[in-house]
């Protein structure tokens, strides 16, 4: 198996002495090539630090990080990856197109498809506008185009949809899945949005306090219908083994086509349904379990 990113006993401490902060502590993780790999964890868990170490922006205090099986910071490996770390910022006097020309030139990319990538991230209309007037969402889109302009084998995206409107979030989710499925790009994605991770990732790693707490295969998890209804007992009775109590609500392990029949059955039994929504219950629970423990 070949790896997109490997962390081997990786440690990073910011500052020294008693005031030093351990961002990563003897952290080890193998991210295989292919698909979309999610990196989850609360603020300060070490996600951005891991990415900055992999890209050679900062140096480890201990251990090793490898990108495409080359040491971190190796220009040969770096030229095969794309990255967007936190909300990107750009030289305000350059247009979106000029920004991509400059960055692709710096990478030594031969004939980059600048217009094509601007269109794919949805800012073709703003191609010749200076980036100083860009909203956060537009900057995120341009950052994505900058990460992808060299047609990388691996792309590291740190919160790629932060600051975007709902329709933008949906577009970018679709783009991420398309990159993995159609273009064969390995996507390493950090996000706080569990729904996003649930929908686009194949596997996910949980980080807490600078340590890896778990790695899960999301194909093993399934979404559930969370029903808030009274009486709860009637709902559990109808669902049988497929229903579990979740506080005042019930989690129904059913497929989407079964939902209308279930709602009808509940109504027929005189159950008052206040709310019914699909949730990635397992990922939410797993997140809380792995990041709080």
């Amino acid at each position: 198996m070949s790896f997109a990113l490997q962390a081997i006993g990786l440690s990073k401490t910011f500052g020294s002495g008693a005031g030093g902060v351990k961002a990563l502590d003897d952290f080890s993780l193998d991210i295989p090539r292919g698909g979309v790999f999610g990196v989850l964890g609360p603020n300060g868990a070490g996600k951005s630090t891991l990415f900055r170490l992999a890209l050679g922006l900062i140096k480890p205090t201990g251990g090793e990080v490898r990108l495409l099986e080359q040491p971190a910071g190796d220009p040969r490996a770096l030229r095969r990856i794309g990255s967007m770390i936190e909300t990107p910022r750009f030289h305000p006097y350059l247009t979106a197109r000029e920004t991509l020309v400059m960055l692709s030139t710096q990478s030594g990319a031969a004939s980059p498809d600048i217009a094509g990538w601007l269109a794919r991230v949805g800012i073709a209309d703003a191609a010749d506008r200076k980036t100083k007037g860009f909203s956060v969402g537009m900057k995120q889109r341009l950052g994505l185009a900058a990460a992808l302009i060299t047609r990388p084998e691996v792309v590291i995206l740190d919160e790629p949809t932060s600051g975007m409107d709902p329709s933008g979030i949906l577009e970018i989710r679709a783009l991420i899945r398309e990159l993995a499925d159609r273009d064969g790009v390995t996507v390493i994605l950090a996000s706080h949005q569990l729904d996003e991770v649930q929908r686009v990732c194949n596997r996910v790693a949980f980080l807490a306090k600078g340590k890896l707490t778990a790695v899960e295969d999301l194909s093993q998890t399934e979404e559930k219908l969370r029903i808030l209804a009274t009486p709860q007992a009637a709902v559990l009775d109808i669902l049988g083994k497929r229903g579990t109590a979740d506080g005042e609500a019930v989690l129904a392990a059913i497929a989407r086509p079964e939902a209308p029949d279930l709602i009808r059955a509940l109504a027929t039994r005189g159950v008052d349904v206040v709310e019914a929504r699909w949730v990635g219950g397992d990922l939410e629970r797993a997140y809380l379990f792995h990041t709080r423990s």
């Binding site: 890209l55 050679g56 350059l94 400059m102």
Partner: protein, 272 residues
């Protein structure tokens, strides 16, 4: 890969209109405007002609000598800060360092600054020639023929001295930009150093014809003056030690540029 970094840096710099205009175009325009104002003042206010005939060769070399002034250097420091400090200011190193080696990225910045400075010196020379022509027209003054045998070496020395002196100042600004990650510190501290050097040179008063080597080594400004021909060059005497002065200017440039690259290669870009 160095060529890629250089092409990208040149592309970026020429689109940073503020840096190009205030850093590298103003000195040439300033030479022209100051020459015009001086000529008009002497003719219309003082009503005294400027002594001597118009000599475009001397005007050109004289314009290039303006690089020794800390006032002129302010503009080049603005340009240097815009080149070396821009990626800290806009937090754009994180976009660039994964694309090329840090050594190449910083060498590209030095090359871009060197090229822009050379062009700015050409601009200053053109400004000097144009102000000489304007004086000839305003004062109806005949022009001396240029003695190319004397002009060519004086021009080359003035150009080399100006360029090296500005490269040393720019490399100090580069080091400060990387060290402090702010443009303001890069400009202000380098400028303070230039003024301090001028004051100490004024107090120490090293022999202008045969300056001691330790004075040449200590003061890049003195080395540039000697390479130019020295303040006594105007009187027909040329200062000795141009070769030594050139070596010392190159040494200062290598030290500051080397320190800048050394520091940048080890710098943590947690947040630019």
């Amino acid at each position: 890969m160095l060529l890629d970094a250089l092409k990208a840096e040149q592309f970026r710099l020429w689109r940073d209109r503020g840096a190009v205009i205030f850093g590298f175009a103003v000195p040439g325009v300033g030479v022209l405007l100051l020459g015009l104002i001086a000529t008009l003042f002497m003719k219309l206010v003082a009503k005294v002609p400027i002594p001597g005939h118009v000599n475009l060769g001397s005007d050109l070399v004289g314009a290039l000598s303006g690089t020794g002034s800390p006032i002129t250097q302010i503009f080049f420091l603005i340009g240097a800060a815009a080149i070396f400090g821009t990626d800290y200011r806009w937090e754009t190193w994180r976009l660039q360092t994964p694309r090329n080696s840090r050594l190449n990225l910083m060498l590209a910045k030095f090359a871009a600054y060197g090229a822009a400075t050379a062009l700015a010196l050409v601009g200053m020379g053109i400004g000097g020639v144009l102000s000489g022509l304007a004086r000839a027209v305003i004062e109806a003054e005949p022009m001396d023929a240029i003695n190319f045998a004397a002009f060519a070496p004086a021009f080359l020395r003035a150009f080399a001295a100006g360029w090296l002196e500005l490269m040393v100042a720019g490399s100090v600004a580069a080091l400060l930009a990387v060290l402090t990650r702010t443009n303001v510190a890069a400009i202000i501290v380098t400028l303070l150093l230039a003024f301090t050097q001028a004051i100490i040179m004024g107090i120490a008063r090293p022999d202008p014809v045969n300056p001691p080597w330790d004075a040449l080594l200590t003061f890049p400004g003195l080395s540039a003056q000697v390479l130019r021909g020295g303040p006594v060059g105007i009187g027909g005497v040329t200062a000795h030690g141009a070769e030594q002065a050139t070596v010392f200017l190159l040494l200062w440039l290598a030290v500051f540029a080397g320190l800048t690259i050394f520091l940048f290669q080890r710098q943590e870009l947690t947040r630019e």
